[in-house]
């Protein structure tokens, strides 16, 4: 298989995204793979690396919608929400842009290498770092300003505290981009950051229709299925451990484990890496 063609654009050159001019310090040189016309006007979908199944499901949902409507999904290819966003866009054959903290030809993080090589062929992978550069500690924060600049809006799907997603949100606000956040449980530490953004004024996004409306698109309001299962309702509010669920509902532990397992196999619930169960958006 042929290696995908790569390019290097100078500031002001034809194809160099004019959106970077909004930044106080646009990159002088831009390295990358893919179609430079897809740079600009995208939707940044970002979130924490240690994403919960909830965060991942939200990434999939919103990125999938954006990409299938031709809006490039911009993110940083980090493990967790970022990577899930790129994958969701690739899955619907939509446009997606990864901005790397290292050279655009470097597979970082390593576990993203399969997705990155796919994106070099079918999407866009860019960086302001020369070919072959390894990531530096400071380059992550620097790259976040590029993610903000290439997007018309930034959607934070899940962030704890402290979180790197805040620098992206700050850059976005500095250059006049919208920042949205997906609300999470007030009890979940994984959602404390994204909930704080809402408190600070970021409009909450609770379904695809709301996002579409904010971005000037039309979309049918998707009515979340109303659950009749009281267990499922409880877990929608906050992820819990089987022990706590059994106590809260006064159930036998074996029965609880089996009910949770059944709901999981139906795709209503996901087991978190720490053993809690949480509802998945449907």
């Amino acid at each position: 298989m042929n290696a995908p063609a790569r390019w290097c654009l100078q500031r002001g050159e034809d194809g160099y995204p004019f959106e970077f001019e909004d930044l106080p310090d646009p990159p002088e040189l831009l390295y990358g793979y893919g179609d430079p016309d897809l740079l600009g006007g995208g939707l940044a979908v970002i979130g924490s690396r240690r994403a919960t199944p909830y965060g991942l499901a939200c990434s999939r949902r919103f990125s999938g919608w954006a990409a299938s409507n031709g809006i490039p999904v911009v993110s940083g290819a980090a493990i967790g929400c970022d990577l899930e966003s790129h994958r969701a866009a690739l899955a619907v054959d939509g446009p997606t842009v990864a901005v790397l903290p290292c050279g655009a030809d470097v597979d970082y993080p390593r576990r993203a290498s399969a997705t990155l090589s796919e994106m070099r062929r079918r999407g866009v992978v860019i960086s302001e770092a020369p070919w072959g550069t390894d990531p530096k500690r400071w380059s992550f924060v620097r790259r976040n300003r590029l993610i903000a600049a290439l997007s018309r809006a930034v959607l934070v799907v899940e962030a704890g505290l402290p979180s790197g997603t805040f620098t992206t949100a700050d850059h976005a606000l500095d250059i006049g981009r919208q920042v949205f956040a997906v609300p999470g449980s007030i009890l979940a530490p994984e959602c404390r950051g994204s909930n704080r953004l809402i408190r600070q004024g970021a409009p909450p996004i609770t379904d695809v229709a709301e996002l579409a409306q904010e971005l000037g698109y039309e979309a049918q309001a998707d009515v979340p299925a109303h659950s009749t299962d009281r267990l499922l309702t409880a877990l929608t509010a906050t992820p819990m451990r089987p022990d706590d669920i059994a106590r809260a509902f006064d159930l036998d532990i074996v029965q609880t484990i089996r009910t949770l397992g059944t709901l999981e196999s139906l795709g209503h619930l996901a087991r978190y890496p720490d053993g809690r169960y949480g509802a998945l958006p449907r």
């Binding site: 451990r241 949770l260 999981e264 196999s265 890496p273 720490d274 809690r276």
Partner: protein, 497 residues
Amino acid sequence: MTQVYGQAAVGTTTLVGTEPAPVEVQVDVSSGLPGFSIVGLGDTAVLEARERVRSALRSTGFRFPNARVVVNLAPGPLRKHGTGFDLPIALALLAATAQIPARLWVGRRAVGELSLDGTVRPVPGMLAHALGARRDRVVLLGPLESSHLAAGLPGLEYRGVSSLGRLRVEEPSCGVGSSRPHTGPDPDLAEVTGLDTARRALEIAAAGGLNLLLIGPPGSGKTMLARRLGPILPPLEGEERIETALVHSVAGLDEAPALSGRRPFRAPHHSASLAGLVGGGSPPRPGEVSLAHNGVLFLDEFPEFAPSVLQSLRQPMEDGWVTLVRAEGRLRFPARFTLIAAANPCPCGYLGDPVKVCRCPEAAVQRYQGRIGGPLMDRIDMAVSVERIDPAALVHYSPAEPSARVRERVCAARQHARGAGRPLAARMGGAELLAGCRLDARTRQTLGDLGRQSHLSGRAVTRLMRVARTIADLEGSAVVTVDHVIEASAFRREDLR
């Protein structure tokens, strides 16, 4: 007094691993330059017998011959080690110099260490020597302290002697001590409140002999749970009891708890060396895996163990034996145990904790979890996460079920499996499981769906079925149903950390 010259021989045994090999101690007392030498490939401990025997004889009023004394340990090519030769050497010497009647020692064996004052002391592996005597149908003379062994081994004729001096006055009595009770009560599951899911996992692991991984922050009760697996297993019986006690005896540990049916619990520290864990050294000593034979091996801080050390557990976990290959030959120690591994979710331990914040960099977490998923992971059947419980909330929980009740269910489940002609679930392979589970179409469908949804490998599906089969046994069900499979899937370890 005139010097008596002569020859005599007394039987004894030396240990090759856990095997007692017969050895004949021959003594020749002859005229010549006075001296005392021992030949026959003895180690330093054997050679030092000269000083102990000389002093012991004098302290107990016997005479040490003022003559040339040669001791030969036959067969010559076999390496001999340990201090158990003191007693047979002293007896042969006394018989050769006619200080005790030689005919008493025909067809008998002696094993024991001598103090300088003539006291007879037990040596590591007394149980092995005793088993050897029973096997070869000979009388064994040994320390009085070890008389309780005779009570546990019907068919063994044992004579306990407290001091060499007793042999002047009487034929040693038949020592029938009672077996000593083991000390201290077992830890009880009633003390574990609030960890219901983990308790259930422990019960399933006990019923199926399955290996379990516990994941949770420091202080969440992982060690507490692991200690309580032994007491919910059926007590050691028959052969198992002897096998386990034998290993403990050879290692120089108290064999009484195993003889009274208590399953061993071994928790080596993560700095354990390869030889410490699987056995080794010279003479070869059983390692922790063998000391855990028929019991529980608990590896706390599992990812901190050296990968090479964990790798060495693979062979014993597959065969139930440790095979050590040495210049002198191959040795086998039994090593069939249930493994409980415990790990923190991340290096600092607080990943996912509702209160304390984890400060580990993502890369460090990945590395740590990579190590959990390392060498032994395919031998671990189930995993459960253990939460740190708010101590203030503990008082609101209803009292937990005691071990005795859980053990009844575990025993019933094992009985059910035996009744259906199945071995422990832990020992069942893929094809055997498929036949033993008797899945109907719907359950098959569920199993397939689960496998696809969670991207389970073939091995993972086999593990899932092993757990499901055990859950069905706990319910006394001949067939594995959807419910069993679903519950088993809650203990799959694939995406837990």
